[in-house]
């Protein structure tokens, strides 16, 4: 059989996808720079640039390297992790409304982390410090408990998705119920705590990018990178799942294993993010949809695009939260909810309108 040359049209199409990815990466870089410049300290872009290279005054170097860079790194890593988890959840559950926050995984992880912080000695509240901040003294314990909370939720979702007739709407409603359950449980924990601990838990659940240290950022980033490698190695399997479970099986995909492992990895990265920065809603839902607009639904491109979009969204949400009412820093969790809730409603209406 003679092999025809693959047409230039398809090659151009693929080239455009790569260009879109490159554009997203450049946009993320620009977002990082702008985020480094944004804040209430009044540092000029020149001072920021000098500080980045270890030059300039002590104050600017301290602000850039001790405050802004860790904040940017946390935002980018958490945004990427939540977007990655949302992207894969939407694929394996075949549900465009799936994400760690809409399915209750974040709330489950949040409950697990709260238990670790309050009862298992995973965190210490610093009474008297600004806004009643909390320091996670044992990140591994908090991460483990958050993961257990997240994975318990995932197990329930998985069981429901296996049940005959469990529609996408059923899963989301189950997510609402699970979120309510864990929110109630977290409230009960707060009820039996002293005032300082209650205020620290409440502050913690608002979501903040400003309380992580280098070790925690490295943990989130490493887990996110490992998860990305696993997901990317399965990119063809996720594409096969787009055609349904039977099609994927006939293409050699072991669907139950793929779904189980993928959801567990999603629970892990979402839970770790929640453990260190609190509940950040809707990034995991929004980012994959925006990425799909940019590169389509092919997971060869969607898997790298979704975390890039997620990181950008987090950085912009953080910039807005720091500048809109400066010097007060608004809780980023509330801001992402403002951003995501209208889109969530739009997706529900769109699904209803679809033939």
């Amino acid at each position: 059989m003679t092999k025809p040359a693959v047409c230039a049209e398809y090659r151009n199409y693929i080239r455009k996808k790569w260009l879109a990815l490159l554009a997203l990466a450049v946009f993320l870089l620009v977002s990082c720079v702008l985020s480094a410049c944004a804040g209430s300290s009044g540092l000029s872009p020149r001072e920021i640039l000098l500080a980045l290279f270890g030059l300039g005054g002590d104050t600017s170097r301290t602000i850039v390297w001790n405050v802004r860079i860790p904040r940017i790194a946390t935002g980018a890593a958490v945004g990427a992790a939540l977007a990655l988890a949302g992207c894969v959840m939407q694929n394996v559950l075949r549900n465009p409304l799936a994400s760690a926050s809409t399915l209750g995984v974040s709330q489950g992880a949040s409950f697990g982390a709260a238990v670790a912080i309050v009862y298992l000695g995973g965190g210490v509240s610093l009474a008297g410090s600004s806004a009643g901040s909390i320091t996670v003294t044992n990140p591994y314990l908090v991460t483990l408990c958050a993961f257990l909370g997240g994975i318990a939720t995932t197990a329930i979702i998985l069981l429901l998705s296996r049940m005959a007739g469990a529609s996408p709407s059923t899963l989301i409603l189950a997510g609402v119920a699970i979120s309510s359950l864990f929110t109630g449980a977290t409230t009960l924990i707060q009820y039996f705590c002293d005032d300082v601990t209650v205020s620290t838990i409440v502050y913690w659940t608002f979501g903040s990018l400003g309380r992580t240290n280098g070790r925690e950022i490295a943990l989130i980033a490493l887990l996110c990178a490992a998860a990305f490698l696993y997901f990317f190695a399965n990119r063809w399997n996720y594409n096969a799942l787009e055609g349904g479970a039977s099609t994927a099986t006939s293409l050699g995909v072991s669907v139950p294993v793929l779904v189980l492992v993928s959801l567990s990895v999603c629970a892990l990265i979402a839970s770790v993010s929640v453990a260190f920065v609190g509940c950040i809603n809707f990034i995991g839902l929004l980012a994959p949809h925006i990425a799909r607009r940019a590169v389509g639904s092919d997971h060869r491109f969607l898997l790298p695009a979704a975390p890039l979009v997620g990181a950008c969204l987090m950085l912009w949400a953080d910039m807005v939260s720091r500048t809109i009412a400066a010097p007060t820093v608004l809780p980023i969790g509330a801001l992402t909810s403002f951003l995501g809730a209208p889109l969530f409603l739009y997706l529900i209406v769109k699904r209803r309108a679809a033939p």
Binding site: M1, K3, P4, A5, V6, C7, E9, Y10, Y13, W236, N237, N239, A240, E242, G243, G244, S246, T247, T249, S250, L251, G252, V253, S254, R292, G296, S297, D298
Partner: protein
């Protein structure tokens, strides 16, 4: 040569297939006929391991498919389901997905060339960058067929591929299936409800009744009595202008 021997399957305690045996040679297109609930689709999904049979064997050129890994089985058998899920994926990417059982880390030039060749053969080349959700029903089924072909299977399984198509597209898709099975010398097994389409395009027939093989063979097995036994209605097969047609009372 495809050899199915003593295949049985149950949904829990409810048996669906009983001791199903038949054989099929390369280049033959076999129509699987029977009433709803006779076990036609279950048979197809047992052959490619979407479902695991309770007993029996499926061998292709002497190799037992049921003992192969999913990936190895996918290199031998491809499948086009009853309903295709149209996504935003382009036709080319959908067809390229058929190379999944062979892919290592990245797509090779050979994979791309094969896809291009099959797209040309199925007449989909002008639509290759169109998203699946913008295709007509006939075009979508052709894309699924093209994806199944780039798997380079020895056995092609089709589960009612024309059930949602208009008569013109039904004939186009069936003609394409017949040509591809013949030209590529692969065995085709197609679940089909329309007896006249089956008579026109299939060379062999497998008649299932209550999960058992009622008859298997060439067009001669499709008699009025067989139609009554399998479907429970009176009918007969006539030859009109050299073409067999089924008429029902």
């Amino acid at each position: 040569m495809i050899q199915v021997s003593g295949l049985s399957f149950s949904y829990g305690s409810r048996p669906v297939l009983h001791d199903v045996s038949f054989s099929l040679s390369p280049g033959q297109l076999m129509g699987v006929l029977g009433n709803n609930g006779a076990g036609k689709s279950t048979l197809i999904t047992c052959l490619n391991r979407i479902r695991t049979p309770c007993a029996g064997s499926v061998s292709i050129d002497g190799q037992n498919v049921l003992s192969l890994s999913r990936l190895e089985a996918a290199r031998q058998i491809s499948y086009v389901g009853q309903s295709s899920v149209p996504s935003q994926m382009t036709v080319f990417d959908c067809v390229l997905l058929g190379r999944r059982p062979y892919l290592k880390w990245s797509v090779t030039q050979d994979d791309l060339s094969l896809c291009q060749s099959v797209l040309r053969q199925t007449g989909l080349e002008p639509l290759q960058l169109r998203p699946l959700n913008q295709l007509s029903g006939g075009e979508l089924q052709k894309a699924m067929l093209a994806r199944a072909l780039v798997q380079q299977p020895k056995l092609l399984l089709l589960d009612e591929p024309t059930s949602s198509l208009d008569p013109r597209n039904q004939h186009e898709v069936m003609e394409l299936i017949r040509q591809l099975v013949s030209q590529r010398n692969i065995a085709g097994l197609i679940v089909i409800h329309d007896l006249n389409l089956a008579l026109r395009y299939c060379s062999h027939f497998l008649l299932l009744r209550d999960g058992r093989v009622y008859a298997c063979g060439g067009p001669e097995v499709l008699t009025g009595d067989a139609i009554f036994q399998v479907y429970g209605i009176h009918g007969k097969v006539l030859t009109v202008d050299g073409q067999s047609v089924a008429l029902f009372a």
